[in-house]
């Protein structure tokens, strides 16, 4: 029983990490007022870039860096189309998904079925890792896990405690007023979309370097869509993203733990979306107060000087 508990907790953190990273990216993107539905594509590109570079250089760290870079580059397409050209962000995001998935399978084809020669070793925190149960689960994880924790807290501090954070949020809420304050709306939005792309790329690298340690088509497996649900579930708050990512990760892991007692995996597979719907319902029921905190100008292109 002990080993099942450790396994569930451990797998939850591993399965939740890519969700967390990509959700953090989508939160900052959406906070600036840009909706990016292309997470699935950006993750796929990150996964394949990370894998190829790790294979070529033998360094998973370089792999991670190039995954982030690849995510930034592909998200730049979305940024250009939706910010500079002011096109429909839904269409552009969906196109980004298809472009990313297609491009990843095209460039990844020669690398299918190749095992990863170098593996990123788990980072063991001395002393703490020897604590029973907790130590094994929390303090002996892969570097991505710790980075995602740090990034999550940093992003929360950035968004809620710094001047930059206020500027990003105000761009998402009321770009006209922000512009009157002297902010360059396009620049802020570009930066946020690119950060979001980088984080999605990093999430992809986690999948190919840590989670499955190989590249196969369909590696992202719909996580990009779960991330979009998660962003709403987290109410655009990085701290709630932790809760959501690990909750959804746990549900994913439990699918197979609970199967022998007769709970069909498909039912649990629906849970992330049901949970998101529940959050939306709760938001809809609470009248009077703005509960959901969706950025007011989410998905709306902004034209300079326009009212």
């Amino acid at each position: 029983m002990d080993s099942i508990l450790i396994s569930v907790l451990n797998r939850t953190l591993v399965a939740g990490t890519p969700l967390l990273l990509a959700t953090l990216g989508e939160i900052i993107t959406e906070r600036s007022g840009i909706l990016n539905l292309g997470i699935e594509g950006m993750m796929a590109v990150g996964a394949v870039a990370g894998f190829i570079v790790t294979l070529a250089t033998g360094s998973p760290w370089l792999g991670m860096a190039s995954a982030i870079l690849a995510g930034i580059l592909i998200s730049a397409i979305h940024a250009f189309v939706s910010i500079s050209l002011k096109a429909n962000q839904v269409v552009s995001g969906l196109a980004l998904t298809m472009l990313g998935l297609g491009g990843a399978s095209l460039f990844g084809r020669p690398f299918i079925g190749r095992p990863l020669p170098v593996k990123m070793a788990p980072f063991r925190i001395p002393i703490l890792a020897d604590i029973p149960l907790v130590g094994k689960v929390l303090f002996n994880q892969d570097p991505f896990f710790y980075l995602s924790l740090i990034l999550g807290v940093l992003l929360w501090v950035l968004l809620s405690r710094t001047r930059w954070g206020i500027q990003i949020r105000s761009v998402g809420e009321n770009p006209a007023a922000s512009e009157a304050q002297g902010l360059n709306i396009s620049t802020v939005r570009y930066i946020c979309v690119l950060i979001g792309g980088g984080l999605a790329g990093m999430a992809g690298a986690h999948l190919s370097l840590i989670y499955s340690k190989s590249w196969t088509e369909g590696l992202t497996g719909g996580r990009g869509w779960i991330v979009i649900a998660l962003t709403i579930f987290a109410l655009w708050n990085p701290l709630r993203a932790f809760l959501g990512a690990y909750l959804f990760g746990c549900i994913f892991v439990l699918q197979y733990i609970l199967q022998p007692i007769g709970i069909p995996p498909n039912l649990l597979g629906m849970m992330p979306y049901l949970a998101t719907l529940a959050v939306l319902f709760a938001g809809g029921l609470k009248k009077g107060r703005r509960y959901l905190h969706a950025p007011a100008m989410l998905g709306e292109p902004y034209t300079k000087g326009e009212r």
């Binding site: 450790i6 297609g102 095209l106 497996g221 892991v253 197979y256």
Partner: protein
């Protein structure tokens, strides 16, 4: 103005997407010879799945290299409802002489295409409907699962063996049963635990299912899913000092778990395509149902094409002795080699599905001394007596 910009942006993105899509479509040609055959292949998955479609494509490449008179075309990731359109395109635009449809779901469209184009040939993989110009073919691997079962039964220490299954259909249930029958012959105390993922191809689900089985105490894992995800789980636990034995599926997967993969089943579609296309070329093709097993070299044992059994495990298998009715006391390694040799001679010499076989509810399904018919094997819907649980409905 704004509207024009939106249109430009959308077109731009679509063009980019289209460029990628078209760049992905492969077309390979051979120099023209006097008599030529053009064969079209339709795959249900991406070639990159490292499983079913990948294995078919290895076969396609093999025959294309082998026959100078052969030209092949392929379309991958074709949804089962979409096959009629692709068949039409292959016949009408590409002027194919024969079309191979490689998924069960293409069956009805393939038969219909046979009526529509009576002067062309069609080969449908894994189906059961034939007609004048529509043949069927399949490479069946249950014998290899049995041999893998012998190894798993001999190696397990916890007497709990896991299986990650794709869909609870007769094909997969038959393979789990064959695996369990092998386990039983090497280790009557071991039980088989099954987790279903309800997907042919989903590395992350397969991985979590495998982790769940390991957490439950299983130390040997076999699976039906088109990626090496389960192997990676086994390798990871083995590296951390908890040996988990795994068995590759369909493609050579030993490279993904050099310390964990004991053996596996491999398929060689190449030999089947070679025979079918040679027959067509020679004019001796008939629509008989080709159901190839070990004896026809379509089903092979191993986690790689080089080793039937990973040499790391040879000594361990030799150290376990079992008693079997026809051979007396014999070590498991020799038993496997003997059985493989018998299988290569044909199912009349040795077959795992010879009774007495009871299901796990105690009902006798195959009476003593009787060999299961092909019909029984194709419709099997029960677990044999050392598997835990029920087949999901």
């Amino acid at each position: 103005m704004k509207f024009t910009k939106i249109i430009i942006a959308v077109i731009l993105v679509m063009l980019l997407a289209a460029a990628v899509v078209f760049a992905g479509g492969e077309k390979e040609t051979e120099p023209v010879e006097a008599k030529k055959i053009k064969a079209g292949f339709i795959y249900v998955g991406p070639i990159g799945d490292y499983g079913w479609s990948h294995a078919h494509d290895v076969g396609r490449k093999y025959v294309e290299g082998k026959f100078p008179w052969l030209e092949t075309l392929l379309v991958e990731s074709v949804p089962e409802a979409d096959s009629a359109r692709i068949i039409d395109r292959f016949i009408v635009e590409e002027k194919c002489d024969v079309v191979f449809t490689t998924s069960f779901g293409y069956m009805d469209d393939t038969v219909k295409a046979g009526e529509k184009y009576p002067d062309k040939l069609f080969m449908h993989c894994s189906g059961f409907k034939q007609s004048e110009n529509v043949g069927t073919y399949f490479a069946e691997l249950y014998q290899m699962y049995y041999l893998n079962g012998l190894m798993a039964g001999a190696l397990t220490r916890s007497n709990k063996i896991g299986y990650v299954g794709a869909f609870p259909i007769p094909e997969v249930v038959r393979h789990i049963n064959a695996f369990a029958l092998g386990i039983k012959d090497a280790n009557p105390d071991a039980k088989v635990h099954v987790r279903w993922i309800f997907s042919w191809y989903d590395p992350s689900k397969a991985k979590e299912a495998a982790e769940a089985l390991v957490a439950d105490g299983c130390d040997a894992l076999a699976f039906t899913e088109d990626s090496p995800a389960v192997i990676e789980v086994g390798q990871e636990h083995t590296e951390k000092g908890k040996p988990v034995f795994t068995f590759g599926h369909y493609s050579p997967m030993q490279q993904f778990g050099v310390d964990s993969v004991v053996s596996g089943q491999l398929v060689d579609w190449g030999v089947m395509y070679e025979k079918i296309l040679k027959d067509i070329y020679d004019g001796t093709w008939s629509n008989e149902d080709l159901w190839w097993l070990a004896a026809e070299d379509a089903a092979l044992l191993g986690g790689s094409f080089e080793d039937k059994i990973n040499p790391k495990f040879t000594d361990e298998l030799k150290a376990v002795t079992v008693e079997v009715p026809d051979l007396g006391k014999i070590n498991v390694y020799n038993l496997i080699m003997k059985r493989l040799d018998q299988m290569n001679q044909g199912t009349d010499v040795f077959d795992p599905f010879v009774g007495p076989i009871s299901d796990n509810k105690g009902k006798v399904r195959i009476p003593s001394g009787v060999k299961a018919s092909k019909g029984q094997l194709l419709s099997i819907d029960y677990y044999v007596d050392n598997i835990v649980g029920d087949v999901p409905k």
